[in-house]
């Protein structure tokens, strides 16, 4: 049976970016989540936070003449300054995170499980993981969204009954956005809310390593 097409990275980012309300303070993890910055819903002002002490930065610099050598986000990427931007220390930056002043964080994921546990730091094969700011963000943001491909390169599921990789943070994920579905972590289990066009709940369940509860109002993924 041929699998329906999966959402591409840009659409996935748009789906995650729906979460950003006007005025939201948002932290985007390295990898897929970074693209969310390009899809902030129109008419909304969003404050982007970068762990090393940058708040309210603009889009990625595309040309040398846009580069201010002192305005980088994590990952050595120069970004454009933006009015209202603030520079901070690392400790103040994480006072913001730990203190619950981040409204939404979108993080990459290696595994998410039924308990909302997240593993996203320890790439198999590597001798150690890169924690970065993920433990603080996942634990303390008001809302934690994981944006990841639904399955690993070898086809194995990344939404699982119980994470087998080292945990970044326990019981922290609110929503999982993948290339085939939008799933909420609820007390009643993993709730399948939306599916990619052409995908059925059953098809999503087949590529998922945990039992999904199907939302009564299950619908197709929409953007905006």
């Amino acid at each position: 049976m041929l699998e329906p097409p999966r959402l591409d990275a840009a659409v996935m980012a748009m789906v995650a970016a729906r979460e950003f309300h006007d005025g939201a303070v948002v932290n985007l993890g390295i990898g897929l989540p970074l693209a969310c910055a390009d899809y902030i819903p129109e008419g909304r002002e969003v404050i982007l936070h970068s762990e090393h002490g940058l708040l309210g930065y603009g889009p990625l610099a595309q040309h040398p003449d846009e580069v201010d050598p002192y305005v980088f986000m994590v990952g050595n990427r120069p970004v454009r300054p933006r009015p209202g931007m603030v520079f901070l220390s690392h400790d103040e930056s994480f006072a913001i995170v730990r203190g619950g002043h981040i409204d939404v964080t979108v993080l990459g994921g290696l595994q998410v499980d039924t308990g909302g546990n997240l593993a996203n730091t320890h790439v198999p094969g590597k001798i150690a993981g890169n924690l970065g700011g993920a433990p603080d963000l996942a634990t303390c943001a008001k809302r934690t969204v994981v944006l990841m491909y639904h399955t690993a390169r070898d086809g194995s599921p990344k939404v699982v009954e119980r994470c087998t990789l080292p945990l970044t943070a326990a019981a922290c994920v609110n929503r999982i956005v993948t290339d085939v579905a939008v799933i909420d972590v609820t007390e009643g289990g993993l709730l399948l809310r939306e599916v990619a066009p052409g995908w059925s709940a059953e098809a999503v369940q087949q590529v998922t390593g945990a039992t999904l509860v199907i939302a009564e109002d299950l619908r197709e993924v929409t953007i905006g």
């Binding site: 090393h52 040398p64 050595n76 400790d91």
Partner: protein, 254 residues
């Protein structure tokens, strides 16, 4: 008269002994790393160091790769050296960090390779707890309870206690003998002004017995406005000025 300016980088780090604990600032940009202090420490030859740093550092080969990769938009400086240089030279015994290994398709970092060879110790911790532990050293606090860590490897061997029904981990102050940091401007009192994200450079100032700041410029006392100073001089013991023309090799005295 107070004058914390030291003539050379080699003089600034001369008393960092083998086995010392060193906090090293900077992160996420080639323009906020205390590169000349790292190079001087490499020249000094002190080894068996315990280093705290956001990242293990890319080392020389990877820095060259990043330089080429970013060339279309950023002129990555030639005089960029990070803790990876110290790892490459085998000077680090133990690293306390949040980013110990390379990501994506980058080649292995020097520390990572040493870790695989079993030559070094790693204490892995998230950025928020690392930052707060270092601030505690500056601020005279012995330890603090954070909600970050319970249920993960970070909490192993540490006290976990509930506050208002939420488990918290007891994290302890992380002191150092020396902190090496990078700032933009300084005055002779050691007051510092940074440019851009201040990273661990601001956090580490005052968290060590001796804080040494690498700066672009020393300005006359009074030129820095009292409400624009980020780090008060009481946290800083030594100031040293970056050369006007970038050094080409870390081996060159400076």
């Amino acid at each position: 008269m107070i004058d914390k300016v030291v003539a050379t980088f080699d003089e600034a780090v001369a008393d960092i002994a083998s086995g010392a604990r060193v906090h090293c600032g900077g992160f996420a940009s080639p323009f906020n790393m205390p590169s000349y202090l790292i190079a001087a420490l490499a020249r000094l030859g002190a080894d068996g160091l315990t280093v705290a740093s956001t990242s293990a550092g890319t080392g020389m080969a990877n820095a060259q790769q990043l330089r080429e990769q970013l060339a279309p938009i950023v002129a990555w400086p030639m005089d960029y050296w990070d803790p990876g240089l110290l790892a490459e030279l085998g000077r680090i015994k133990r690293l306390i960090t949040t980013f110990p290994v390379s990501t994506g398709h980058a080649r292995m970092w020097p520390f990572e390779a040493a870790l695989e060879r079993g030559e070094v110790e790693l204490e892995l911790i998230g950025q928020g707890s690392l930052a707060e532990r270092i601030r505690c050293a500056k601020a005279g606090i012995a330890g603090f309870y954070t909600p970050v860590g319970p249920g993960t490897a970070t909490a192993e061997g540490k006290e976990v206690r509930d506050f208002d029904g939420v488990p918290h981990v007891l994290e302890r102050a992380l002191h150092a003998d020396f902190a090496i940091i990078r700032a933009w401007k300084a005055d002779r009192y050691g007051n510092l002004v940074f440019r851009g994200a201040r990273t661990f450079n601001e956090t580490m100032a005052g968290a060590a017995r001796v804080t040494i700041a690498e700066v672009d410029e020393v300005v006359p006392l009074g030129d820095l406005a009292p409400d624009a100073i980020h780090t008060p001089g009481v946290y800083v013991q030594r100031i040293v000025v970056r050369p006007a023309a970038p050094a080409q090799r870390w081996e060159d005295p400076c």
